[in-house]
């Protein structure tokens, strides 16, 4: 059916084209570290506006009345380790266990001290006898938070333009017509393009990741293999989206417009630069349509919270489902030539 020989030949040819195009190579390596450097410099402090308190136990567990304030966000955890990790990186200001009558704070967190004061103020409560524990650790900086987004953004642009634009150019200048006159099948051609771009993206992202790590020593709590699996699933979904965009278009200008139509909303709404947690629900609904949203959120929870493969399984499932749907649409729509 599908000839691996043809795919291999097209894959090798495309890789050669990529690394010989020195201009594009230069920019794909330069831009992300540049952005990270600027952010690392500009956002070196972060002052959250509200207090976050973690409560161990199911959501129905009673929080002390003093914590039921509108300026305190309560987050429930059933896993102590996960919760103390959040506290260590100052994502939580205080962690409270109502059952054991124990609380933890991070001695390096100013907010933590303030919440502790609040908790201890009421004289009539048994809180006075509560056990106190400390979990020291540095705060998560904005740059730690934004790194998964910047890497994801770089992958998104490279996937959309690297696959979409190239196929459209091939269609316009007649390369596709030439391939159509050979025994090569569309699926072989598309698979070769997708695989080539996937390998390129993984290699480029690894190098960019290492460079950024050396520059700003960002947080990475989870496993690298999980991060790679997220990158593969996310890239596949983005590349499949690019294949839809490139399925018929024969004008580079039109392709440019369509690619921007997809990439800019993703850039703004996929949680690359700011969290959408506080955004209206309809906006979060829109964001959920984009593959980048799921890739960045999975990568972020691995890097900042040490999430495991099982923890990010929902996002991976969505990304794989998107890949399959997009590929089916792309293969149905694809034409070698402009009609």
């Amino acid at each position: 059916m599908i000839s691996l020989r043809n795919i291999r030949a097209l894959f090798i040819a495309r890789n050669k084209e990529y690394y010989r195009d020195k201009g594009s190579l230069f920019w794909s390596f330069l831009v992300p570290p540049l952005i990270v450097a600027v952010i690392g410099f500009a956002f070196s402090r972060q002052d959250p506006a509200i207090f976050s308190v973690g409560v161990l136990g199911a959501p129905q567990a009673e929080a002390p009345p003093v914590l039921q304030q509108d300026y305190i966000r309560t987050i429930y955890y059933d896993d102590l380790n996960r919760a103390t990790t959040q506290l260590r990186y100052q994502q939580l200001d205080l962690l409270y266990d109502p059952q054991a009558g124990k609380y933890w704070i991070n001695p390096r967190s100013v907010n933590g001290k303030a919440v502790e004061k609040l908790l201890r103020v009421p004289a009539d409560s048994p809180q006075m006898s509560m056990e106190r524990a400390e979990v020291p650790g540095r705060a998560i900086r904005y740059v730690d938070w934004v790194i998964p987004g910047v890497l994801g953004m770089n992958m998104m642009f490279s996937a959309l333009f690297g696959v979409g634009y190239v196929i459209v150019r091939y269609r316009k200048n007649g390369v596709l017509k030439r391939l159509q006159a050979t025994p090569v099948k569309p699926a072989e051609f598309l698979l070769a393009q997708a695989l080539s771009r996937l390998c390129i993206l993984l290699i480029v992202s690894t190098i960019v990741f290492i460079v950024c790590k050396l520059m700003v020593n960002f947080l990475m709590l989870g496993s690298y293999s999980t991060l790679y699996i997220i990158a593969i699933c996310g890239n596949l979904a983005l590349i499949a989206l690019a294949l839809i965009i490139a399925a018929r278009t024969a004008s580079e200008e039109a392709a440019n417009g369509i690619l921007n139509f997809f990439s800019f909303p993703m850039l703004l709404l996929s949680g690359v630069w700011f969290s959408l947690d506080q955004a209206p629900e309809w906006l979060q609904g829109v964001a959920a349509v984009f593959p980048l949203t799921h890739m960045v959120s999975a990568a972020r929870s691995v890097m900042l919270e040490g999430a495991t493969l099982a923890d990010v399984a929902p996002q991976l499932g969505i990304l794989l489902a998107m890949t399959i749907v997009f590929l089916i649409i792309a293969a149905t729509l694809f034409r070698w030539r402009e009609d």
Partner: protein, 312 residues
């Protein structure tokens, strides 16, 4: 195989797009082992026709048979195509382009043979996007021949080449033809068709207006030689001569052309009418003259018409 059996048969082939009828019900049989030419101005429907045969576009109506098979199942493996305008992948070297295309076929032509045939030895390490016009056409020809095809399509292969490159390319086509391959060539150069084609069909406005070998076509339509003079020599005071020459006299592109069965007699007529013989030319008719005779328009005039309207 019977060398005269048609390798290709077209029956009432038509193609319309955007309400424009580019090919209007043409029928043809192309014998195996010859160089067949589709000749005509830009916009005549040559490329549309050849692309339907290649299978890259579908006819609106009519049939195309390859070795008698309307499904053309063997065509993809046995044909080699050089398109009129194709780019190759950026940043690939000539030998890498050949590697890529060779890997699509089970039994490609041996590399050295292909390189020798298309004279690519000196440019194998050159980037395919940085070739001269002639080198590029030779590479595209090599890509078309990479599967050692039985049938080779060449769509205006020498358009835009300098005279030296064109002659070099003609020589390649003759070599391919000598190897027993069938060549289907489109061109708007009469000289190219006369030199290369064993058999040709002249197309104009989507129809075949003449069919035969170049010599047979000329013999059929011209029993005479052409005596040509600058048009300015025919002043108003030679009415008698004009009447005498009648239908044998025509004007085109600043030239007066007399279709003559006896050069002696024609020259005598001209001298008797006191017409200057400066710039006189006596020549055999060419396919260009044939086209003029068949359509009433020279190829040049046709092309300027075509470039205002339709496309090839």
């Amino acid at each position: 195989m019977n060398a005269r059996a048609p390798i290709l048969t077209l029956r009432n082939l038509s193609k319309s797009y955007d309400g424009f009828e580019a090919v209007k019900g043409i029928s043809l049989e192309i014998p195996t082992g010859i160089c067949f030419g589709l000749l005509g101005p830009n916009g005549a429907g040559k490329t549309t026709t050849i692309e339907m045969i290649e299978g890259v576009s579908t006819p609106t109506a009519g049939d195309i048979l390859y070795k008698g098979d309307p499904q053309r199942r063997q065509l993809a493996d046995q044909a080699g195509i050089q398109f009129q305008s194709t780019a190759l992948m950026d940043y690939l070297k000539v030998n890498e382009v050949l590697d890529l295309f060779a890997s699509f076929y089970p039994a490609p032509m041996p590399r050295q043979q292909l390189v020798d045939l298309c004279q690519l030895q000196d440019i194998l390490d050159r980037s395919a996007s940085k070739l001269s016009g002639g080198q590029r056409q030779r590479l595209l020809l090599a890509v078309a021949l990479v599967n050692d095809p039985e049938l080779v399509f060449l769509d205006e292969p020498t358009t835009g080449l300098d005279p030296h490159s064109r002659r070099q390319f003609w020589h390649l086509v003759e070599t391919i033809r000598a190897r027993g391959k069938t060549v289907l060539l489109t061109t708007h150069y009469m000289e190219e068709a006369e030199r290369l084609c064993d058999d040709l069909a002249i197309m104009n406005q989507g129809k075949i207006i003449a069919r035969g070998s170049p010599q047979a076509l000329l013999d059929e339509h011209f029993e005479h030689v052409l005596v040509c003079l600058p048009q300015t020599h025919f002043t108003d005071n030679c009415e008698a001569l004009r009447r005498e020459l009648a239908d044998t006299l025509s004007f085109s592109g600043g030239q007066a052309m007399i279709t003559s069965s006896s050069v002696d007699r024609t020259l005598q007529q001209l001298i008797e009418s006191n017409i200057s013989l400066d710039g006189l030319q006596v020549r055999n008719p060419t396919l260009d003259d044939l086209f003029l005779k068949l359509t009433g328009l020279s190829l040049e005039a046709q092309e300027s018409l075509a470039s205002e309207g339709s496309t090839g």
